[in-house]
Assembly symmetry: none
Homo-oligomer: 306 residues x 5
């Protein structure tokens, strides 16, 4: 098993050993430790959607310590959250599970057609809190995208210089894309490629649909016969688009679903060669026992493919 | 009683002992010292509303020394003001009462739909003046919100690095919110969550109404049966939304009211588990004797619940 | 007499002795030295209005040395000017009269509804030129006000750290105010309050009219019976609004007037407890002898009230 | 078992969570993971004594990768070495075992009565290499001691600010001490106290003899009846002298010995409450199989006392 | 009288007007104001010789405020002292008399053949305290001289850049000079030249004897017939050696003497064209009335020559 982790770390030959240490920490933690697969618990919805929409369904989640413990008890590879949530448990949980500090976040009290998150924490915060990585969100396609890319460039450069891994959430959106286009296969694959080109170590995208948004892309998909009918096909295409599988790309499930829906999607991700899932609302909005059960089922699907 | 302060300080495990020292100074000062409850006197209305609107009713308040003495005589936990007011008494009152330097302020000679305060003082000023904390205001929902969040990020990081506590006024407003929405329960709870995620130690919000502003939130409030009919219910929901009670959240009363109105509101805040009140105009616009009497009555309501 | 200067310096307890040294230098210079009253000669009109509008009437004023000598010969407390004018005479007049370096200036080749001056000199320049103080202009009510406040914040922090006094010209204007409103009593008092809250040591405002600009203010002025019918009343209200008289607030006369007009206004300022006058065009556009005579008459009116 | 680690981390309340993460990493790694006991492999003898004296006995040790693997295979808590040795294996072994970068080192081509090591690596190197800690050596009693203390002060401040743990080798020596005095119980206890007062997280001293070097100390040891006859007594006295057991203090065995000699000494250290051993030459100068066997026997002695 | 000050300031054409302002402040203060002559009160003996040796004779001098007031009451041009003494009265006496902050000081608990003072305050301190100048001591001839010259170079550069004048105490001593040689005419003249070449604005040396220390110098003094028999001759030679009179050079009297001795020496200094005296122990060790009387007599001797 350890060989797979070594193989993955071999793709990051330009990075300091300090970065590899933190990638290894994440890759060897939890129930999937050593398989090269990852399931990460992210809890930034309090900032992104507001507290009641995030936590009312399972009110234990109002407590920041709950999520640390859930991630540990479920055997996740890492736990990702904004500054406040991480600070609230950083001392008690120091070193118990790899953490990812989300450095930018958006709130939804105002909705704009070309959104941009605010930078809300720093690389120094991540060192201070003992994190394994920093996380950042870009919105490819937004009129503000270049601002985000340039903020990311500085942050990624700083993080790498001090040995932190860099996780990039790439969520295409903005006035140039239709709502359906945000998860179109061509757009998702493009967003993953941009993230990889920006130098991310771990890339997180949404599971793609079979919609193709851009005419220029559609022509190529059709001419070259790129297969996008099944989720597994599409995942394989995204993995290929992320440096032919030489970067860790993981998938989010989006809005809360029923258990069958979640597992069906993960089955497709795993079948397509995805490296794992980042699962927030589908985990922390369930009662803890159910959440752990679901996360274990998800991990089992990845174990089958590891 | 000291145990409650220790318990509260235990929530801030990511912070320097220097920050804890200043949080403790505020929590153990004044008539509520040691109870974990706080009543703070803020006087930034001279800048925010102009001098006559602020001080003509009780002209003693034109004198900056008056407010220091009022806060001390009434047994407040701290006194908050902009640079000029603090500088005017910083030498005479050095170390007599914890002070909070408001680092940004808005004037009202020009009204805009998406407001943003100006940064008017620095973390270095707060050190120079011997303050316990810096204060900052954000307007979630304003089109300028990201600017404010990013200004705050830098200020909070600096302040924490030199051992100052950070108090965040979170006042949702801006073109995306109705006037009624600014104090809607969903919006106030969301504003408190944002402040906590941004890493504030003490959070100040307005007392919420039972209005629900956002459709997506309303659906959750109704589906989950979140109780918002009484003020105590709403306060409890805001406290829960502020890291399940693991961050100090205090409430402002807003515009001047009669004594019964003030006390009725505080009774609801105390019943809901609020950590205290920040009371400006209702205090300093009354004659000093009446102001102290009112503040003592407010403190008594918190003492009953401590 | 010295006691009055000591009393005034006692208001600035948050400042370094270095700042007090320079405040004392200004307060003890010239014919009003030691009285706590000040008459300052400002000559920034060359930048603000152009040379001919400023100096053609008394062409001696084209020469920068003329103004240094005029301020000395008339017994002014200080001389204020932009970088170029001060540099032109700094060596010859080093230490002969306190100087105030105006750090920002507006030219009038372009007129905008929301103006903002350019920063044209630095705190380091003021040290190099041996100045007693730096001067800065803000336009409360301009859409650019926050930029000005934030520029001032940095400049004032730097100036105070090296022992320079800070003089703030507070001139409300901008798209939110009527022309008449720029000198309305409520607006002038508000502008003085803002300047004091921003941490200025000496505040310069225009002499106010009895117009009240803002509806919210008018309601208070009427309810509280604030007297604004005579100039002396209005000056007293502005002095009160400037930390109840605990900050030096001086008044400009604005456009050139006849001698009786000037003296009538100064009489009102002195009667209302104003700390002095800043008098430019009414001084340097008169022949030198007349200018000195007028300035002496102005000083005499303050001496009567000292 | 985890409780003991939490208890130990509770002693470091002034440190960032980032430091706690790295202390936990060391405390939970290897065969002693979770017991609060530590065995560390240090290999700085190549620099300190030269290659042949260090590695000729077991030539596998010329290869820097050998020591990484030995530390892992033996189940050590950490591996400590100078820059070159760590750089040589940092990529292959990134994250597999906590590493400690020795930031200063002495060579023995010149012998001086008041020695001082050269600083040979930096905190930035430690971040880049993914280390858990930095290591530093002081020689209390050397005429150069103040230089070392001041170098350490800066390094420790930097390391703590970026979340690295700090290990301090405290080896009294210099013109003021006899050779026998370097390991005298009073001197070793004093050296441990100095290291703790300088702010080290983990302190490494030599096993003390029953010699008492300083007359003033001897008087107290005799008057107070401090028991120093057995090694266990002396170890207990050193642990007491290191903040009454509230700092991790570990012991080195010094020159190579036979197996019985090593185990007898460790038995005394364990019996006296020492936190562990740092064992270099006695490990890497044996053939690998024997080395692992010895290290396991050492660990077993600590496990009996955990 | 003002013309002489202008003439003197004309020698400092490379300096900022800010420096000239402070030189003028000193040259125009006190009873000798405007004459180009100076009498300065220095009180650094508390640090240099210990408190009892300095203040027991006139115990009023233990109080730092005493010396400020003595310098003012006697009409001195300036008061010079180390950080602590200036800080103790800086607020009360801000701007009342020019002060000189001594930036380095020697204590006499350890006597070394090649002494060097410690730097004990900074240029920033001088700005903060509102000083007119910084003072610094060099010991030409000490083995540590280059360290002092290089410290001075940085300090002088900084001080000049922020408009502070620079006063340099040049006291030859060290293993290369005999005790008698420390005040030899060739050595004093050489020390004055070094101070001027280092860029000092005001130079303080001891009154020279007719001893000639260095053989090479003696040869020249004899060959060129340099007159050194009377004190006035020697002073004239020192003034000549200090850029032919184009730098301000003042003289210290050294150890306490009787009044006739003091005045005889000053008569010689004045006759030789010295710019003034710096008089510490002879002033503050006398009762205040006598001290003022003596200082006035000294000033009168300079007034005769002005």
């Amino acid at each position: 098993m350890a060989n797979r982790v070594d193989e993955i770390l071999g793709w990051y030959g330009a990075d300091h050993p300090g970065v590899l240490k933190n990638l290894r920490w994440m890759l060897e933690s939890g129930r999937l430790g050593g398989t090269g697969k990852m399931v990460i618990l992210p809890v930034d919805q309090g900032f992104e959607h507001g507290p009641a929409r995030s936590f009312a369904k399972n009110p234990a989640g109002y407590d920041p310590l709950y999520h640390y413990q859930l991630a540990i008890d479920a055997g996740c590879n890492a736990y990702a959250a904004p500054l406040g949530f991480l600070e609230a448990g950083a001392r008690q949980f120091a070193g118990r599970i790899p953490t990812i500090l989300k450095l930018n976040n958006s709130e939804s009290l105002l909705s704009t057609s070309d959104p941009k998150p605010a930078v809300t924490a720093s690389v120094e915060d991540a060192l201070r809190l003992g994190c394994a990585a920093v996380g950042f969100t870009i919105y490819p396609g937004s009129a503000e995208r270049n601002e985000m890319y340039m903020e990311f460039r500085e942050i990624a450069e700083d993080a790498k210089s001090v040995g932190l891994a860099v996780v990039l959430w790439s969520y295409p959106r903005g006035s140039g894309l239709s709502k359906e286009g945000e998860t179109a296969i061509d757009v998702i694959a493009y967003g993953a490629q941009i993230a990889a080109q920006l130098g991310a170590h771990i890339i997180k995208v949404k599971a793609p649909t079979d919609h193709i948004e851009q005419a220029a892309a559609r022509a190529v998909y059709e001419a070259e016969g790129i297969e996008v009918s099944s989720l597994a096909d599409r995942i394989a295409h995204v993995v290929q688009s992320t440096f032919d599988g030489r970067r860790i790309v993981i998938f989010s499930g989006g809005a809360a679903k029923d258990t069958d829906g979640v597992l069906a999607e993960v089955r497709g991700i795993a079948a397509g060669g995805g490296f794992g899932s980042i699962m927030g609302r589908n985990a922390f909005q369930r009662p803890k026992g159910e959440a752990i059960e679901l996360l274990h089922s998800v991990m089992d699907l990845y174990l089958e493919r590891a």
